[in-house]
């Protein structure tokens, strides 16, 4: 019973991970790409939590959001439109 629910959750989380990873490459605006990267690291943090690794989940959430904030700072420097 519980195993089926865990399998279903894994499928949902992993497929949303793949969807976000594909969506990053289709977005032209670099700001949107940085925000999607934050969503990607949020999903990865959820996966760590499902794998019983809460230590990695905390680090992934903090570092993912932190790097995304820094990337937004860099984006305002180099301009929002990519090549």
């Amino acid at each position: 019973m519980n195993a089926h629910i865990a399998d279903l959750l894994n499928v949902v989380v992993l497929s949303s991970l793949v969807a976000i990873a594909i969506a990053v490459s289709y977005v032209k605006d670099l700001l949107y790409a940085a925000i999607l990267l934050g969503a990607y690291s949020l999903v990865i943090a959820l996966i760590w939590l499902l794998m019983n690794a809460p230590d990695l989940a905390i680090t992934e959430a903090a570092a993912g959001i932190g790097m995304t904030t820094l990337m937004i700072a860099v984006i305002s420097k180099i301009g929002r439109k990519g090549e």
Partner: protein, 142 residues
């Protein structure tokens, strides 16, 4: 970016974010997390402050020179805590073997020197994040 609602929400939320970061740092040996994650959370609260309220107001709170001093202090603090073992006649970073009381298991003070070492590393990580962000933003303004 200079929105009224944003400023009020950030002013309400940021103290709790800073407290969460300090909690994660201090409970690094008991619960998930540690000095690196807690330091990043603490640094992110300062970064969010300077993103919303502007770089000048955050420089008034803690100047860049102060941040650099805190960053160096974190590394020196780690080294100093390691030297405690040598001064007690054992090897570098020795904890229990140097005769430091370990405290009760499960309580906050249960790791000897680990709590102090974690505090130093957390300060180092937080100030490094803020210094990185400030140097990126200042490069933009020039």
């Amino acid at each position: 970016m200079r929105d009224f609602v944003l400023k009020r929400v950030v002013a309400l939320v940021l103290p709790f974010v800073t407290m969460l970061g300090l909690y994660v740092i201090f409970h690094g040996h008991l619960s998930p997390g540690g000095s690196f994650s807690g330091g990043i959370i603490t640094g992110l609260s300062m970064i969010a402050f300077s993103l919303v309220f502007g770089l000048d107001r955050s420089q008034e709170k803690i100047s860049e020179r102060m941040m650099t001093l805190i960053e160096s202090f974190g590394a020196l603090w780690y080294g100093a805590m390691g030297l405690v073992g040598i001064l007690r006649g054992t090897s570098f970073l020795m904890n229990k073997g140097a005769g430091i009381p370990l405290g009760e298991p499960g309580k906050l003070y249960s790791g000897g020197l680990i709590l102090l070492i974690t505090l130093g590393v957390g300060l180092k990580v937080a100030s490094t994040m803020v210094t990185l962000f400030v140097s990126l933003m200042e490069e933009e303004e020039e």
